[in-house]
């Protein structure tokens, strides 16, 4: 084949896309140092490079450069340790802030509970004072003359209910509670609420109107923590009314 006939084949030759017979022809021309063919090859390589550069640009991952440079023994400055230190610092700060926040939350909850308890106690005492100061209140005492106290008073008010104040009343103990009973004249005991003693004294109020003429006795027993439907013997406090 002549140089003229080969002219159109150099791009495919440079791409390795020619059949072997055509490739051999070009190889032979180039081996002879044919200037025209050498020039055609250079032009074909330039065209091929231009076509190969048409591809849409895609950014490789950053690690590729590091990997490449490492493979030729070039130290590539890595900032990974800076990120690692930063991340650990952030975690430590976050954890510290978390603990602080948690501690603050606990303190706040405890203060709130104390305030609620305090307000509740204040309300109970205010209510007890109202019982004691109201002329309609009827008092009754218990425990007098007993060798083993508790002793104390029960105050009944037709609208406000029943106030029990006991001294020398030991703590109920684990799983136990005190239960107050209102026993009508000639009737069965009715549960009137559960309460605890602080180990020395107890103050309990049953709120709501009561019929003073019907109540025969106010009593207290020691019961399981959930209370009972009927009193468990013995009766610890019995305050006869009227």
């Amino acid at each position: 084949m002549t140089c003229q006939e080969l002219e159109d084949l150099f791009e495919l030759y440079a791409l390795g896309a020619l059949e072997s017979a055509e490739k051999s022809e070009i190889d032979a021309h180039l081996a002879r140092g044919c200037d025209k063919c050498q020039h055609a090859l250079s032009a074909a390589l330039a065209l091929n490079a231009g076509v190969l550069s048409f591809v849409p640009a895609v950014k490789p991952r950053r690690r590729l450069k590091r990997r490449l440079l490492t493979s030729v023994g070039v130290h590539y400055p890595s900032w990974a340790w800076v990120w690692a230190v930063g991340a650990v610092s952030l975690l430590v700060v976050a954890a510290w802030l978390g603990f602080e926040e948690r501690g603050r939350t606990f303190e706040l909850a405890a203060a709130r509970r104390a305030l609620i308890d305090s307000n509740s106690e204040r309300d109970r005492l205010t209510q007890a004072l109202q019982f004691l100061s109201d002329p309609q209140t009827v008092p009754a005492s218990f425990g007098k003359g007993q060798t083993a106290p508790p002793r104390g008073y029960v105050f009944l008010h037709p609208q406000m209910g029943v106030l029990l104040i006991a001294s020398n009343l030991p703590a109920a103990g684990p799983g136990k509670t005190y239960e107050m009973w209102v026993i009508p004249k000639g009737g069965a005991p009715r549960p009137a609420g559960l309460f605890q003693s602080d180990g020395m004294r107890a103050l309990y109020i049953l709120n709501g109107p009561v019929d003073l003429s019907m109540i025969g006795t106010v009593a207290v027993t020691l019961e399981p923590a959930a209370g009972s439907a009927t009193p468990t013997m013995p009766i610890l406090i019995a305050a006869p009314i009227g």
């Binding site: 159109d8 791009e11 495919l12 030759y13 440079a14 791409l15 390795g16 896309a17 020619l18 059949e19 072997s20 490739k23 050498q38 020039h39 090859l41 250079s42 032009a43 390589l45 330039a46 065209l47 091929n48 490079a49 231009g50 076509v51 190969l52 550069s53 048409f54 591809v55 849409p56 640009a57 895609v58 950014k59 490789p60 991952r61 590729l64 450069k65 990997r67 490449l68 440079l69 493979s71 030729v72 023994g73 070039v74 130290h75 590539y76």
Partner: protein, 205 residues
């Protein structure tokens, strides 16, 4: 410098750009030959993205593309001694090596490595690129080439893509497209002529 006064501003700027790129590439090749540590860094900064994009276009797998980019640059690093620092078109050589690594990979996975298949590394000898127009990848040339490519018929574009990006011979293309070999050869030659003529226009301009 008188030449620059006589040229239109755009063309003068283009020539200046090419001259700067050539000077840069020549210096880079000298440093690569000296195996200066920063030279590989600069080579990657200059051609890494284009190389990766080309290989990814061919193999269509990011992880494989990364492996082949590494292989390409190591090949350049190890063979740069034979490259003509003053006259060679470094970018064209890098792209050719990259394309051949990717096509080799495709052939090995497709089972297309036949007994008669041409060893692609024979076609990327550094000496070939010494006589190459060093402005092969100049922006203006590539833009005009791409514009010409887009004007090709769908069949012409298809054979060009099969040759460049899938490494197929014309016989393989004929089988793939279920067309007579003569038809495929006509499409290929006519497509390449359009592209060649466009580059000739750039050279004349």
């Amino acid at each position: 410098m008188l030449l620059f006064k006589l040229l239109p501003v755009g063309l003068a700027f283009g020539i200046l750009q090419v001259m700067l790129r050539l000077a840069d590439d020549a210096d880079l090749v000298r440093r690569l030959k000296a195996h200066e540590p920063k030279a590989m860094n600069d080579l990657y900064d200059r051609y890494g993205r284009l190389t990766y994009s080309l290989i990814l276009r061919i193999v269509r797998n990011a992880s494989t593309a990364e492996d082949l980019v590494q292989e390409t640059f190591l090949r350049i690093w190890n063979r740069v001694q034979s490259f003509d620092a003053e006259r060679g078109a470094l970018g064209a050589w890098v792209l050719t090596v990259a394309r051949n690594r990717a096509i080799d990979y495709l052939r090995s996975t497709d089972g297309r490595m036949q007994a008669g298949a041409i060893e692609l590394d024979q076609l990327e000898r550094p000496g070939w690129f010494a006589k190459l127009d060093a402005a092969a990848l100049a922006m203006d040339r590539v833009r005009r080439l791409k514009s010409a490519f887009e004007k090709l018929t769908p069949a012409q574009r298809q054979v060009i893509e099969l040759a460049y990006y899938e490494g197929m011979s014309q016989t393989e293309m004929a089988e793939r497209l279920k067309q007579p070999l003569g038809t495929v050869k006509t499409w290929t030659r006519s497509a390449l002529k359009v592209l060649r003529d466009e580059l000739a226009q750039v050279a004349i301009a």
